[in-house]
Structures are given as C-alpha cells and as structure tokens.
Symmetry: C2
Subunit: 157 residues, 2 copies
DNA sequence: TATTGTTATACTCTATAACTATA
DNA sequence: TATAGTTATAGAGTATAACAATA
C-alpha cells in the first residue's frame, strides 16, 4: 500500500505545497476575524501568557523594529497591551486584552476546524503518522516557546 | 513504534508549526538570493513556462492589482518579462528572463537542500508516508497548476 | 558597555476602487 | 457587456540605522 505509483511529488515540493495550503487557511481565517495573518499569529502566540518583546522577535523571526510596529497596530486596535516589567524598567511584556483573547480563541478554533476538515480526508493511519513525524520535526527546529498551558492568566484591557 | 507517548502536539497545531518552519526556510533562502519570498514564489511558479496574469492571480491567491505590482518590481529587477499574447491583445504572459531562470533554479535548489536536510532526520518509512499523505492532500486542494515539466522554453531577456 | 525597546526612513506587499483597452 | 490588465491610493509588514533609557 505504500507503493508509489501515482505521480507523487518529491517530498520537499510536497512540503512547500502543504505550507502554502496551511498559510492560505490561516490567511482566510484571519481575514474573517478582521486580522492580518501576522496579527493572528501574534495573538495565538500570546494565548499562553504575556511575552517580552525580545522573546517575541525570536519566536516570530522579526527585527525588533518590525515587532514594534506590529505591536503598535495591534495595540491601537485594542487587541494587546504593553505592560511594564516590574524587574527591568527597560522592558515590557505584551499581553492579550480581553478582546484580543476572545479573537485569538476564535481564530485558533477557525484554523483548527478547517485543517481538521482537510485532514479528515486522510485515512486515520496517515493522520497518526503525520502527527508523529511532524511533531518530531518541529520539536527539534521550532524556536517558538512550546510552553505548557499553565500561566494563561492576567489579561488586562 | 507508532505509539504516541511523548507530548505530541495536536495534528492541526503541528501542521501550523510545520508551515511556519517551511516558510522560514523559504524566506531565508530567498534572502540569500536577494529575493523577497513573494518574488521567489513567483519565479518558481514560472519555471515551467510563461503564465498569464489572470492565471497567476489564481495560483498565488492575489488580487490582480497586487500581482501587477509584484510583476512590476520583478520586471524592474530584470527577473521576468511581459510578453504580449498574440491571440488576445489585452493579455500578456509573464516569462522568466535568463537571469530570472538562473535565480529560480538556485532558489529552488536551496529550498530543496534545506528541507532535505531537515527531513533527513526522520526515519525513511516516515518520509515515505509523509510524501504519500501530503501529496494526496495538496493534489486535492492546491489551485496551483501542477503542470508536467514540459514546455519550459522560450526565455526572453 | 551591553541590552531593551523606539523612531526615522525606505521599500515591499496587499486590497479596494476606478480606469483603459480589447473581446 | 464582459474580460485582461493598469493606475491611484491607503494601509500593513519588514529591514537598516540611529537613538534613548536602563542594566
């Protein structure tokens, strides 16, 4: 059953296609909630709790000045808030507002639903192996802080 | 061996992470060749031969005016050229220049190398199944014209 | 001195709306 | 009238460089 008879793409090309597909889903869902994909990504990253600017630049692979602008616009829309760090007066932590947290949940659910619908077309064994294989990959190479769902507290705004 | 014991992410989250990982590789390679990711994507799409603007908007999921700008900038850099369509004087076909074709090959190779390096960490059985599973997915849902490598000819510039 | 973050500037990307030219 | 593409405009995203404030 694992014989390759159909015109199967090379794995690398397939990965690029898959990434574009996911990206498109992400963009569509973002748009439904009046977010840019970058804003949606920021909100989802903040769902586990407030994060400092420097850590965010590493997670999002952005220059600090780019992040300043992104946070500025999200703040202007009332989605996030800058909170001064009590221990380092240079630093600030970015936190979701109540409104931002609400939108973040909706966007995340939207993406999850659409992707699950896509994955539903695969046989279950494929889904399981995809999960295992991809998890191994991203666990190694993601710079995103894979924090445990714990301190998702203190939402200002 | 397919037992899920480690803290494995839900498949949908894993997919989003994977997409970001691929996207980052794409961005890094693009940068090495002095391209924006969008320009690199355009060049790669044109590798199989000239394409009209309308078809490109569908492949790239862009509004036509956005594509006009993208092609403008790529043309200004000497990467692509607009060729008048002989049968429809409103239309034009976008083709790689010699320079654009060269850069496209280099960028594609760069992405392929990096992704192969990442995939190399996976056991071969996982790679095979990934290929099969993902190919099935993207074949259904990609709007990209999966053209056969045939008419990659007539490169102006 | 090093680090955290912002400001100034320039360019790219993108969409909406109005437009031109051809079919 | 419909289609192919461009122009005008505005906002968002991004990087580089220079800067301010704090450590």
């Amino acid at each position: 059953m694992v014989t390759t008879k159909e015109p199967v793409l090379p794995l690398t090309d397939a990965l690029v296609r898959l990434a574009h597909l996911v990206q498109q889903v992400f963009a569509e869902v973002s748009r439904e909630h009046d977010l840019t994909p970058q804003q949606a990504q920021l909100l989802c990253l903040l769902m586990r709790g407030p994060v400092g600017m420097t850590e965010l630049t590493r997670s999002l692979h952005l220059e600090k000045s780019s992040l300043t602008g992104l946070v500025d616009r999200a703040e202007k829309r009332g989605l996030v808030a800058r909170c001064r760090d009590s221990r380092d007066r240079r630093a600030c932590r970015i936190a979701l507002t109540c409104d931002g947290a609400r939108v973040a949940v909706l966007a995340h659910e939207g993406v999850t639903e659409r992707l699950e619908a896509l994955m539903g077309e695969l046989p279950e064994e494929h889904r399981d192996l995809l999960t295992t294989a991809i998890s191994g990959l991203v666990a190694e190479h993601t710079t995103h802080p894979i924090r445990l769902p714990s301190d998702a507290t203190d939402l200002p705004g």
